[in-house]
Structures are given as C-alpha cells and as structure tokens.
C-alpha cells in the first residue's frame, strides 16, 4: 500500500503529509500533525467530537479521508484562539461551566463557531438544532446552549462597540 502525498492548509498554515489512502483526516490531524484537539468519540459520524471545517464547511473529520483535503482549507479548534487570546466562544464556555470532562468541547466549539458564522443571532432552538450532531455525556447540554447564546450576544456587543459592521470571529 503506497502512501498519498497531500498538500493542504490547516488553520492558515501550509501543511504537507503522507498518509495511507484509507486514513481518516481525524487520524492525520491527531497522529501526523499533532493537532489533538479533535477527538474520536465514535468514528462513525454520530458524536461530533471530531468536528472540523473543510473549506468552511462543518464536517466530521472521522468521515473524511486525509487524501480528500488536497488543496483544501482545514480549520480545527486549535485555530480558534488568536495570538493567545481565547475566542469569545471559548471564554464563554469557561464562564458558563459548559464542560466537565472536556472530550466533547473542541467539537462543540467548532460546530458553534460554524453556526455563528452563518447566523450571528440564533434562537435557542436554532442553537439546539445546530448542535444536534454533537453529543455530550456530562453537561446535559443546557450550559453549552447558554454559553453559545452568551457568546453570540457578546460578539454582537463587541461589534457595535468597535463600530465595525463585521464581527470579530
């Protein structure tokens, strides 16, 4: 079995790797690129712990082959904080105690960011639907939903304050 050579972009950085053709993007990220934020909960698309974006689209990295991201732009939880400053979603998760064991958290953060990128003012129902592909065994979801809601409001306030139309994401 020969390896596939892949050139791609991860969190804005050009990256190259060689992987077996059947290896998932999740395994590439964790085992070859040392980006261990995305987690394997199920490996079958059900839990969302492996959530990343590929060309801006939210996907389960356990259901994407490493070979498929040739030339693509991959975004992971490691790319959310900017220059050591946590993303608003991350600080709101901490503030609202939206995590316990933390296994599901990177997936929820990436999925919540994907939601806020297309809908800056989601209702509680919209938040719950958008996060239906992410499972959490610890929190009971309520705190997560509240943290996402608080982050959306904070981002809106920040945007008004800075006078910019577009919000910092």
């Amino acid at each position: 079995m020969s390896g596939v050579h892949v050139s791609t972009t991860v969190n804005g950085d050009a990256v190259e790797f060689v992987c077996p053709p059947g290896e998932t993007l999740l395994d590439v990220l964790r085992n070859r690129l040392n980006l261990i934020g995305a987690k394997e909960g199920c490996g079958t698309g059900d839990c969302g712990a492996c959530s990343v974006t590929v060309d801006g689209r939210l996907v389960c990295s356990c259901l994407v082959l490493g070979a498929e991201v040739e030339g693509a732009k991959v975004g992971t939880v490691e790319g959310m904080a900017e220059g050591g400053e946590l993303h608003t979603l991350q600080s709101k998760f901490i503030e609202h105690a939206a995590l316990q064991c933390g296994i599901c958290t990177p997936g929820f953060l990436v999925a919540a960011k994907a939601l806020l990128d297309r809908n800056s003012d989601p209702s509680e129902e919209e938040i719950r639907y958008a996060l239906a592909g992410n499972l959490c065994r610890c929190t009971g979801y309520d705190k997560i939903v509240r943290a996402v809601d608080a982050a959306a409001k904070q981002l809106a306030t920040d945007a008004t304050k800075s006078g910019k139309k577009s919000k910092r994401r």
Binding site: G45, V54, L58, L63, V64, E68, A130, A132
Partner: protein, 286 residues
C-alpha cells in the same frame, strides 16, 4: 486500498470498470466511510468524484434543475431558486443527519446506498427525478425509482456512476413536501416517510400528483392509487382518506424495535395525507 480523484466522469468510470477487486465511488463518504470503519466493506479502490466539475454544480435551465452528484445537502439548502421550486426535495435532503453530515452528504449517495429509509429518495421519486448515469459504455438516463432494486442493491452496472440528478421543469401551481416519522427531533433514521408532489389546474383542483413512501417496503414505493385518489379534488376529507387507504394498502414494512408493521402502515398513511396538504398549500391551493 488505492485512492483516485479524477477530474472527469469518463475517467472515473473507466477506473472503476477496470478494477479487478472491490471498487467504490466516494461522494460525501457519510455511508461509505462508516461501512469501511465497521469492516463491512474493504475496498481495493475508492474513486472520489468530488473533483469532477460536473458533479459540483446546481444548474437551472429550461428543462429544470440539474444537481451534481457531489453537491452536499448544505449547498442545496443555500440555493434559493432550488428551494423555491422544489421545497420538498430540499427539505428531504436537509433532513439527512446533523450539520456535520449535511456538509458532506449527497442525494446521489443517499440513493446509491440503497437504504429503504433514505430520506431524499421518496421526495425524488415524487418529483419524477432522473439520474444521469455515466459508465464505460457511455451515458444513459434512469428514473430514480429504477435505481434501487432492494436493500443495499442498485441497478447500476460495474463502472457506472451517477453524474447528476435532474428535476423536471417546474410548471406553475406546483408544490412538493416530504415528511418522516422519527422518535426524536433530529439525527435518526425514518421509521416511515412520505413524499408528495402535485400540480393544480386553474380552478385549484389537483391536476397531477405523485405519492412515494419510504421505509415501508424493501425499496421506496410509488403509490399510483394514492395519487389517483386526490387527482380532480381539492383535498377534501374523503379524498384524503382514500389517499391514506391507498398508502396503507401499498405498505409491506418490516417489524422491528423502531416500529411495528401496524404502526408503520398507519403512520405512512397519515404522513402522506399531511404531506399532500403541505404540497397543496405550496402549490397555491386554498
């Protein structure tokens, strides 16, 4: 296993045709990768069709909409013209899985995976959709209802790929709808489902209709008697009861922990009735 990502359907078909071992098309991978992970399939060759330009487009023309085989559920949901013309097809495709699955899943993959409970298929059958198939011997067009022959089985021959799915030209006063029953609100497999597509005449009577049911037989069933029950009516209670009865008569579901035969049969009739009402309203009926 080898991975290939050709940029033309012809080359993809040739690669699949000449492979001696097990060869699979890879679209969104939301079924294929799950089955690979479970060890249910061990491909020798996987041909990724997402680099083929024809599979990536949603095209509106005089003859209707053409939806490439690699177009994800999420991109369908973002296409306003498609959603306006075929809300039932789009809502069915958008019911597949979570937002993460929506980012990848395709209608062609949903069809070729050949699950009796595939959500987009009843809506496609009701819409009279056709699949453009490219194989080593050239092109052919197949009605969507003729693609699946049984659970996990299709009529596609070795090397054949669905390049796109076409929805017919939308005439005025038409509407479609898809409903499924699941015990949860999200992320579940249809216990049973119904897709209805209809067109009204100038008086608001149903001129033509197609009714398709999912998860109540080995393949999606097109129920002509159910369509006949509402043609020429304004969906009065009597014709809706006849539509439900025709749907029930067409059901031959399995009994399992997710639904008994009786439950699936009755609910399929109820869903078809409700979907017909939504389609009627979308067509401008009052």
């Amino acid at each position: 296993m080898r991975y290939e990502a050709p940029t033309s359907t012809k080359v993809a078909a040739a690669l699949l045709a000449k492979e001696k071992g097990k060869a699979f098309v890879l679209a969104g991978g939301t079924d294929l990768l799950v089955r690979m992970k479970a060890g249910m399939v061990e491909p020798d060759l996987v041909v990724d069709i997402k680099r083929i330009p024809a599979t990536q487009i949603i095209k509106k023309s005089d003859s209707g909409f053409k939806i490439g085989a690699a177009v994800s559920g999420a991109s369908m949901g973002e296409n306003k013209a498609l959603k306006k013309a075929w809300p039932g097809v789009v809502e069915a495709a958008n019911l597949i899985g979570s937002d993460q699955v929506q980012g990848r899943c395709t209608m062609a993959g949903n069809l070729c995976n050949a699950s009796p409970a595939a959500d987009s298929v009843p809506a496609l059958v009701a819409a009279k959709a056709k699949a453009a198939v490219v194989g080593p011997k050239g092109r052919r067009t197949v009605a969507v209802e003729d693609v699946v022959t049984g659970p996990g089985r299709t009529s596609l021959k070795k090397g054949e790929i669905i390049e796109s799915i076409s929805l017919p030209k939308r005439v005025a006063k038409s509407g479609d709808a898809y409903l499924r029953f699941i015990p949860r609100t999200e992320m579940d497999i249809a216990v049973c489902s119904a897709g209805v597509n209809l067109t009204l005449d100038s008086k608001g009577l149903v001129k033509s209709a197609r009714v398709a049911l999912g998860a109540v037989a080995p393949t999606v069933v097109l129920v002509e008697d159910a369509a006949d029950a509402i043609i020429g009516t304004k969906l009065d209670d009597e014709s809706l009861a006849a539509l439900s009865a025709a749907c029930e008569a067409a059901c031959s579901p399995i009994n399992d922990k997710r639904g008994t035969v009786e439950f699936r049969t009755e609910v399929a009739g109820v869903l078809a009735r409700r979907a017909a009402k939504i389609a009627y309203q979308r067509a401008g009926g009052k």
